[in-house]
Amino acid sequence: DGEMLGDEILEGDMKVNVKHVDCEEDTDFMSAFDRMMADSLMERASTVPRPGQLDISVPVHVKSTAKKTYDQLLCEGTEEENKPVVNFLLMTRSGNKQQYNSVEMPVDSELVTKLRTREEAERAE
């Protein structure tokens, strides 16, 4: 029935949204957003990467620190809900400067789930 349906859609995707107010300006924003997203992707559709550009390797010093097991990476979150998180390293670049930042991935994110299943599979072997 209708009640159940609402719950299903909200499931797993709930964000803090104090109290959403439906209005024309907001609806317009949403379609403008869709358009911006589509146009941005379209603009890139014909871009070809320069040879060598895609040579992205994880530096050795990063490799050694990043190679930890799920259990080692798991820790308590800093957010108020105290949901456990998993530490990952984010590689970014600002201009020519490479940066490595530790980031906290939610324990229920797809990324983390995949990491865990992979480890389990490896252990089973």
Partner: protein, 818 residues
């Protein structure tokens, strides 16, 4: 508590405080690289986080994070190619290490070589999910923090963004200054007199004009490369590609662009031209035909700038019509004057002297059915009538027959208008068939554009005038040499004017757009009978342009159950400019005469629209067999019902990848359906793909041409357009992609019943709707539609060659209040 709240506002906030709501936790702060303003990653009461709200509304695309944030002091950019557009950025994880890297979706994350380098590109996820930045990148402020911050609304955000365009340092407090908020006066149902009418509509037309002007003039683009060509009429044409703008502005044939040369290979030059080609399925190039061939730097290719030239003509004509209606008592008959103003004390008038012929048809046009004949009689006998033509009910034939009979009855000339050039051309073609003398008056800027009725255009009829050797000689000379001596030019203009006058005066019927009726060449003429087709798509002032040319008899043809006029300025639209004259007259109690037999849709397709938009009054003029295409084998789930709802609740959405606003799942379903149609012998021209959002349209075009298994050219010939672009037209098969919505939005665009009506009534042989029923079923009318499909056992899912009835449950339909 109130003090605490005030303290929050008055305290000096750091520079990284959100310019909307004031939240200033560095972990939640993002800076726009274009305007250097900071915003937070909370959504308050809107559907996107504040930074995303800003980026979208200001059309900015690049951001940086705070030095004390979750990820320190970073300009977000692709690790490989350094692109900074945050709308294409995402991340992928390494296969063996707990490392992720920022990569753009195209082309970097799409490279298969990544896999060999131990990355997992399959897991690419965008940085923007559900219209907010990922929470591990930029913290989402807690509910408590958001409740304590300034509760800015989407309207206020909009206004603030508008203010920033004029004053970059404006703050929230400036919103409350007088002047910003002033709303124009609302339109009325009835008006005291023509002055009150003008006083209300004049400012609304002005608002719309200002909006249009601002929009056009802000569109200058530089670094344009030009390809030169010579048109058939020896005029120089320039072709170039414009960067994709925000899409708010659609370039149209006949628009004016100014091209300027900024390089140093030639002396400074600028020239104005009319648009003769716009981007389409075949190419993104824009083409203009220059007004003058003199001094054009055709040996230069790059360093050009393109400006959009705003023309006030159409708005000036509406204002002039409003003024004329107010002050000139010969502009319309007293009866029409009072009826249009809604004066109820005026009794309905019937022309008793009209002698109705037995044969109520027109030569070379199909004989009219009963409802069409009634409509015709009704219109001929009355000074003001409304004819409602639901989809496929022969509106154009009926209008053409009415025009034919009017000419026969009155002997005078009839003015025929419609808001769009396409609609005018369609009607012109039909009226010409009856043998009447028709002149199609085009705007000067559109003379170069070809149409099926070009030979009826005034400027072309002048060329073929037999007894005017001198004019033709001068014309030829002008075309060959490009320029005439000033004496010759003067003589040429005089002769041309005379010839135009002769042709216009001799015509039985003059056809033009509503705004075209304000052409100075018609100013001296009087028209007693005026027919306006598709009149629900014109604003009231637009309708008034032809009406004030002396109307004693006005026939408005249209359908207020289909889409209304496009008004771009929100303020003007809110004040009622988007309500058509047709609609207001219906509300005033003038009963529209409805055409009731539809000849377009397979009877199964007509059922729902008939019941929900026309009180079940539509009858079918075609049988199932007439609308079953022989030799085409398509896997309709019910062989005798060529329609289905294709349920797409794809894996993607469950995985929450966040990219479904583009709706790749729907695009791929649409591609498969199209391919299946093409493989079964349907021609691309017979298929129309409808989507309510421009974003999805562009994506679909691209997707099909790159991903479809058949020749790219085939997909190019297929029409993919918005619902609005399909109004007034038909296709044999329609596929509609609804585009998924989520919990932060209603279904917006699709919830307008008039738009749904138009979408459902374009197909002749079959229709397929691709969408997510769960979301759509929350809206009343869609809920009914889904139940209708379910009852017919055509709500289906699964692969195309094995469609199965979907068992999805949704709430019972509520009774609709119309």
């Amino acid at each position: 508590e109130e003090d605490e709240e005030n303290a929050f506002y008055t305290k000096e906030l750091p520079e990284w405080a959100c310019r909307y709501c004031g939240i200033h936790d560095p972990a939640s702060a993002v800076m726009c690289n274009v305007c250097h303003k900071w915003f937070c990653n909370g959504r308050g009461n809107t559907s996107g986080s504040h930074i995303i709200n800003h980026l979208v509304r200001a059309k900015h695309k690049e951001v940086s994070l705070h030095k004390d944030g979750l990820v320190r002091d970073t300009v977000l950019e692709c690790y490989a190619c350094a692109v900074k557009n945050v709308f294409v950025l995402g991340f992928i994880p390494a296969k063996a290490e707990s490392v992720v890297v920022l990569l753009c979706r195209q082309p970097c994350a799409a490279q298969s070589s990544l896999r060999d380098m131990n990355w997992d590109p399959e897991q690419w996820k965008p940085l923007i999910n559900d219209r907010a930045l990922l929470p591990w990148l930029v913290r989402v402020p807690s509910e408590a923090e958001q409740l304590r911050a300034r509760q800015i609304t989407a309207q206020q955000i909009n206004k603030l963004e508008e203010l920033w365009k004029e004053n970059a340092s404006a703050t929230f407090d400036d919103l409350e200054r007088p002047g910003v908020d002033e709303e124009p006066q609302q339109v009325c149902l009835r008006y005291e007199d023509g002055f009150q009418y003008q006083n209300i509509f004049g400012p609304l037309v002005k608002l719309e004009a200002d909006y249009d002007k601002k929009l056009k003039e802000s569109q200058t683009q530089d670094k344009i490369e030009v390809r030169w060509d010579i048109g058939l009429n020896k005029k120089i044409c320039a072709y170039f590609t414009l960067a994709k703008t925000d899409g708010d502005m659609r370039l149209m044939h006949g628009d004016e662009l100014r091209l300027r040369y900024l390089g140093d290979l030639h002396k400074p030059w600028s020239g104005v031209g009319h648009v003769i080609k716009i981007p389409d399925n075949f190419g993104e190039e824009v083409g203009i035909e220059l007004k003058s061939n003199v001094g054009v730097p055709t040996d230069c290719r790059d360093k050009f700038v393109v400006d959009f030239v705003w023309k006030s003509t159409s708005f000036d004509r509406m204002q002039a019509a409003l003024r004329k209606f107010a002050v000139d008592d010969s502009s319309v008959s007293p009866y029409i004057y009072h009826r249009l103003l809604g004066h109820v004390e005026v009794d309905e008038l019937i022309f008793r002297h009209i002698h109705l012929p037995k044969q109520l048809s027109a030569p070379n046009l199909p004989t009219l059915n009963n409802s069409q004949q009634y409509a015709l009689k009704h219109a001929l006998q009355r000074p003001l009538s409304l004819i409602q033509g639901p989809p496929g009910t022969g509106k154009t034939v009926t209008s053409a027959t009415i025009v034919y009979q009017l000419v026969k009855q009155t002997g005078g000339s009839v003015l025929v208008c419609a808001p769009s050039n396409t609609a005018v051309d369609q009607l012109t073609e039909k009226i010409h068939k009856t043998g009447l003398k028709v002149v199609r008056l085009c705007a000067k800027s559109r003379e170069a554009i070809d149409s099926p009725v070009s030979f009826l255009a005034l400027h072309n009829q002048i060329r073929s005038l037999e007894d005017n050797g001198e004019l033709q000689k001068l014309q030829q000379l002008k075309e060959e040499t490009g320029e005439l001596s000033s004496a010759d030019e003067k003589r040429y203009r005089m002769l041309k004017k005379q010839a135009e006058k002769t042709l216009l005066e001799a015509a039985d019927v003059i056809c033009c757009t509503c705004v075209g009726a304000g052409d100075p060449r018609l100013a001296r003429l009087k028209f007693h009978s005026i027919l306006i087709d598709e009149s629900m798509q014109a604003t009231e002032p637009e309708c008034m342009v032809p009406v004030v040319l002396g109307a004693k008899q006005v026939i408005l043809v249209g359908d207020h159950c289909q889409l209304g006029p496009v008004v771009m300025c929100k303020k003007a639209s809110r004040a009622g400019l988007s309500q058509s004259l047709f609609e207001r007259l219906v509300v005033l109690g003038i009963r529209p005469f409805r055409l009731t037999v539809q000849y377009r849709m397979h009877p199964q397709l007509a059922q729902f629209p008939s019941n929900f938009f026309y009180e079940g009054s539509l009858q079918n003029g075609v049988a199932d067999a007439d609308r079953t295409m022989k030799g085409v084998s398509f896997p309709w789930p019910q062989a005798d019902k060529p329609q289905f709802f294709y349920v797409t609740a794809g894996q993607e959405e469950i995985a929450g990848s966040g990219t479904s606003y583009l709706n790749r799942t729907e695009a791929s379903s649409v591609e498969k359906l199209v391919t299946r149609f093409l493989n079964s012998g349907v021609k691309p021209e017979q298929i129309g793909v409808i989507t309510p959002y421009e974003g999805q349209r562009a994506y679909l075009v691209q997707y099909m041409q790159y991903q479809g298994p058949l020749n790219q050219k085939l997909y190019q010939r297929l029409e993919v357009a918005s619902v609005d672009a399909f109004q007034g037209r038909e296709k044999d098969f329609i596929i509609m992609s609804c585009v998924r919505s989520n919990e932060h939005q209603g279904i917006g665009f699709l919830s307008d019943p008039r738009r749904l009506n138009v979408a459902l009534t374009r197909a002749r042989y079959g229709i397929i709707i691709v969408g997510n029923p769960k979301v759509l079923s929350k809206q009343g009318l869609w809920n009914h539609l889904l139940h209708h499909f379910k009852e017919k056992k055509v709500l289906v899912e699964g692969p195309l060659n094995n469609l199965k009835e979907s068992m999805m449950q949704f709430s019972k339909p509520k009774r609709l209040i119309n």
